[in-house]
Symmetry: none
Subunit: 225 residues, 4 copies
């Protein structure tokens, strides 16, 4: 979650926000705070007043830059999605053999989601709202999901090397990876409470990461006859 906090205390001009004009800094600051609030309480549960209070600026600025609460939420979503897409673009599976590359990819996704619970929660919130804001955002729609390309190339390689089964849709495969990774963050509260288990400690995360990798790899590997 380092990413979220970074900008908060990095105004472009020394002296801090509020003393000088720094549109980008102000917008960043608002977005950061809003991200946390919307992620924590959902769209309706979050309060513009509270977001403003936790900001270095005033409520008025939120409306100045983002028009209204919904505009702010859309901007927050856009930031969140473009954040993950940016990271995905940097993905480098090197020249690992296909199986290990796939495992690595799955584990990377698992790690990203666990490192960015705000992103996961925003996606949950957006789903509760039937993705209406996502629909409204051209920016998000235009983002290229490069992880699919990476996945596709790994899968093809595995197939051509004869280690992966044929006939698997990489989008389905991506869905499996996402589902397994997402759940650990999204459903942590209820699941851990009901099954009285830990899902947050380093050990638990490590164990689960391995399981997720294994699950994905086993699904694709050609089984010996």
């Amino acid at each position: 979650m380092r990413t979220d906090d970074e900008a908060t205390d990095a105004p472009t001009v020394p002296g801090g926000l509020g003393r000088t004009q720094d549109p980008e800094g102000v917008k960043r600051n608002i977005l950061d705070v809003a991200t946390r609030e919307f992620a924590a309480k959902g769209f309706s549960g979050a309060r513009v007043d509270e977001i403003a209070a936790k900001t270095a600026t005033s409520k008025r600025m939120i409306y100045y830059y983002f028009r209204d609460k919904e505009g702010l939420f859309v901007a927050v979503l856009e930031e969140a999605y473009s954040g993950i897409r940016k990271i995905e673009r940097r993905l480098d599976l090197g020249d690992l053999p296909p199986g290990e590359a796939l495992r690595s990819l799955a584990e990377f996704t698992f790690d990203y989601q666990n490192a960015h619970p705000d992103f996961v929660r925003l996606v949950m919130v957006e789903n509760i709202h039937n993705a209406v804001h996502l629909e409204r955002s051209e920016r998000i729609q235009s983002l290229n999901v490069s992880v699919i390309d990476v996945l596709d190339s790994v899968y093809r390689r595995g197939v051509s090397e004869g280690v992966f089964r044929e006939g698997i849709d990489v989008i389905d495969l991506h869905m499996t990876i996402s589902a397994l990774s997402f759940f650990n963050v999204a459903n942590r509260a209820t699941f851990s409470k009901i099954f009285k288990c830990d899902m947050e400690s380093e050990e638990s995360l490590a164990r689960r990461r391995a399981q997720v990798g294994e699950t994905v790899v086993r699904y694709v590997l050609k089984t010996k006859a």
Copy 2:
């Protein structure tokens, strides 16, 4: 989704709700409406006024029976959880061989979640609220998750028959099944929008159900050396 609607139009006493005294019917009616509203709009997004309006009774009754909005939400959650637990108890995998029994169990879960989007969405909502209501409900905490027992027995059988790998925690296994099933409903809006795919049609569901079963089974099966 028959379950949700059943009670709505089944007052125990002829003459309709509102004219007669039927505490249980009134409560059922309120719970059904509230379930739909909370599932549709989340806890903060749902409106007590609107719930009351869609009810055969009045707002007064909501406060009379459920104390406040939170009390109503807790009751709704309790109903939802006890609903799934009740169904799980009826699970009968007959004397299928372990692999097929496990596949069947996974597919059953997948089907249940897809047939009960309100349940899935309520769980999402509760997770956004960090499961505070679930914590408050003794009733939910006391519900026995019999599916774990079923899963445990199948798994043991598979191990003793030498077809399943050893050392797998059935709660982890259950998490995998849940994650794969849950995602299809919970993240449908955003995922289908971003990947421009369908996740609701009968065909899509059938394909995905099979994938989920296959994924789970492959994870457990002992691979031939």
Copy 3:
């Protein structure tokens, strides 16, 4: 202006507003206050807060009964229009000769407008808003403007008795009467200021009333050859 104030201090139940439940009284009270405020300051200039403050109830009740500021304004307009229509219905020109009946009608209109400046100002305000609220109100649209019937009958009588010219449209005639009556109230502030004349004193009103009557009658009378 007696009409406006009457209801203000006439709750249906003794004890005063706020102490007891009296929907009609509350609505009346709000409407009376709102009429004065909208008439005094226009739609945008009037403040819901101020209206509420001058009321025996609270702001919340305004929204409860009238939905929003516009709903309140529409209701105010409806009351104003139905007020004048009600009075017009009681018009009785007896068996005056046509010329005198017409003069009487014109002077009555002049008097009504002068006695109800709030009505006149509301109509001005509505015209500034291009009559959008009037358009929205079925109630106003359905009000029968009986003064037209009265005017029509007087005019026909005058024509058949040979004292009125033929070929005059009674709606045009009504427009003339309205214009002359309306102006005295509507444009009083600017006109009296620019021409440094009084338009409010009893004497001024009496003089102008006579002029209006005379103007209208002369327009219709057949001039001797």
Copy 4:
């Protein structure tokens, strides 16, 4: 309505507004836009932001030249009043016989108001505000209403020629002319809606113009005994 638009696109220096220094052009531009906005939405309804946006300059200039919203409104009123006064000064009734001269004057007023709805609406707005801005403007107060002089001279001529009745106050006469002319624009929205008649087409205007002239003339003409 050519007047309104003229200045908008006629910067004195080539290169367009905003790039060059042209105080008068900038002020004109602001006044034109503000005239339209205030006329369209009233004083409270008009928005400084919107006025600025429709201007070739910025909000800062509005405050620089006109101090505040009210100062701008006063300036707009001043422009509007001085516009009509300027036109009135050019009035030349030639050597028409008194009756025709009077009719001509009335019809001219009718035409002017219909050609300048913004002026009419500003006057309405100012009346809603009880002419407080007009009071504040020395410029408007000092404008000589030359139409009164013209009217006075025509009337005297008619009286001395024995065709007009004696004892009529020309300010009252002017009021009648104004009232009949003003109404057609000011109350067009409500009147045409209630009486389902047209008040804007060329034909309607021509008919009404004639009626207004006739009404005024008949009021003054000496009736044969």
